[in-house]
Subunit: 346 residues, 2 copies
DNA sequence: ATGAAAGCGCTAACAT
DNA sequence: ATGTTAGCGCTTTCAT
């Protein structure tokens, strides 16, 4: 039987109120009494019962994180960041997998409801109208999603995409493909927006393939359609899709980046593990997870209120150049003096 | 303000006890009253407050899962299995990352202690002596670890390794390398044990490299040492290491499987994504996670007792043959008639 | 600065 | 079958 506040009070010769205060409002109790209380508490291995505390404070000391797919490495970064930051603030983290389904996500929110003080909704599959009606119970923070009035941390995918497209343009590509993610995905819309903007300013022609599910297999299947378009480079919705493309290209004996440049998105650990290593737009996922928890805990301290400016955190994405991008085949040959003649004849 | 049991009782014209019973012991209340209570509850959006319930039952309705590294895909399978099975039983899952550290794991267990009814410890980094003293508070289930008296679900790595080594022997390999995982890792010991047994029965010579950390980079660094041993095949501690090896081999222009066969372990999603796709020993991780929760919930119903036979669950591992294994170069050439003469001269 | 006492929302005896 | 009531362990007025 674990020690209760009464055990500590008895052994320390004080009332339970004093013990309680020693923990929750240290400055209101005399230094010496507090010291002895704490000593007894340690000796007894006493730890306040969170459930009992929660019953009266209305706080659980828990936060929930709901992701659409635990199997997606992207969210591991988020989870790690959230996890460690929450723990530092003495909060525990519930994790749940929404299985890419709005209904499941809804059920999860309901189930978590009473057990957490707030929820971080990652890449929510819920429609905007529903998201807007979520607060004030529970308190939520969106990650990779924007809905007016709700706090959010968003990664600047559009900016990242601009860098990626700019990189390709600089290498000499003039016609590129984009393998699109789920049409209604907020992230996909951002990426597409960034791409369109970059295309205009760099005179890049973009052909879109998809939409596809953000998974490896989708990439495998998208490879040939991409090839058929005759582009010299392809931007994938995310790394999983990009690696799928890479995989199929290897089977087809299409050399990357010599014959086709490939760019992924998110820079998950996998991106650095494949051959050639994947050029990708790095999303600071751990930072995002941390920021989400940060906003959440801050908001918990305030009465329910619409998101202020400070409750929207924008994180930059940056291009990481690896081995999967190079100048298009034609230019590469042109650059090689021996082949110059050949090129002219072509 | 969420509805309480009193609100429901008042509106339904019954006592709080009846409301409580309608939820926790439906058969003890008349069908008609229960129906009306439930109707009122739904109308009011009433959901029992778990904290209050826990205070009295001593149960939290939560279970914890501690993994050594959230970034390791191996544990996602486990997490998904645990997650979904727990939710089906109306339990919520806390997830925590022990960061490959015994100290951190210890801290996590202490922190979770009061908030969960039991903990699943995955590939625990804690010394056996410490594990043995964990119970009865909290109730724990080990995953991929065996300690006398503690319930556990273990994947038969030794058996998987035997299949892997047998596969290589059958292909004609006679000398293979094993890139060992952490020396004190229980899993590593199992895998090594299986390998040794298979080596004896198949007349396979095994050279061991390592130990190394179970990560991609370790594989990258192990590739050249493996090459130097002159073996025709290599078994890696796990897929992450195997893919690292693959990656470095590609840089070195060593053809897989033509010049070197590579086998991984765990069959994480990544294994199927690389080129060539990795032959690997498949571990039923989701099943393992599910089994762990299953045992845990069963044990929660019983008074603390040493693990019975039923509390040890063994899951088989199976070899998945993909593109990274083939007969050794010499044999492959021998099989090709044109080269036979060349071979004889060698 | 400390103590006494009233609950937080719920379940589990114990009555009826 | 249902109601009454005493807490579970804690925080928080309100007194002292």
């Amino acid at each position: 039987m674990p020690a209760t506040i009464h055990d500590v009070a008895a052994r320390a010769g004080v009332s339970v109120a004093t013990v309680s205060r020693s923990f929750t409002a240290p400055q209101t109790v005399r230094e010496s009494t507090r010291a002895s209380v704490l000593a007894v508490a340690t000796a007894l291995g006493y730890q306040p019962n969170r459930a009992a505390r929660g019953l009266i404070t209305g706080r659980t000391g828990n936060v929930g994180v709901i992701v659409p797919d635990l199997g997606n490495p992207y969210f591991h970064g988020v989870l790690e960041g959230a996890q460690s930051w929450a723990r530092a603030a003495d909060y525990a983290v519930f994790v749940a997998d929404g299985q890419e389904s709005a209904a499941e996500e809804e059920a999860l929110i309901a189930a978590m409801g009473k057990q957490v003080d707030g929820i971080v909704l990652c890449s929510s599959r819920l429609p905007p109208a529903r998201l807007a009606t979520l607060e004030p119970e529970p308190t939520v923070v969106l990650l990779n999603r924007r809905v007016p009035g709700l706090p959010a941390v968003v990664i600047d995918s559009a900016g990242g995409m601009r860098q990626a497209a700019g990189h390709l343009a600089q290498l000499g590509h003039t016609r590129v493909a984009f393998v699109s993610g789920p049409r209604h995905s907020w992230s996909n819309q951002q990426r597409l927006r960034g791409l369109r903007a970059a295309a205009r300013s760099h005179d890049l022609e973009v052909v879109t393939i998809g939409p596809v599910q953000p998974q490896f297999d989708s990439g495998v299947q998208a490879a040939e359609p991409v090839l058929r378009t005759g582009v010299t480079a392809v931007l994938a919705y995310n790394d999983l899709v990009a690696v799928g493309i890479l995989s199929r290209l290897a089977e087809l004996d299409v050399a990357v980046p010599a014959q086709l440049s490939v760019i992924g998105f998110d820079d998950i650990p996998l991106a650095a593990m494949v051959t050639p290593a994947l050029t990708s737009v790095s999303a600071p996922t751990a930072l995002a997870g941390k920021a989400a928890i940060d906003i959440l805990l801050t908001r918990l301290g305030r009465p329910a209120s619409p998101a202020r400016a400070h409750d929207i955190r924008r994180l930059p994405a940056t291009l990481v150049r690896r081995g999967s991008t190079a100048p298009p085949a034609a230019l590469a040959s042109a650059a090689a003096p021996v082949r110059a003649g050949t090129l002219n004849r072509a």
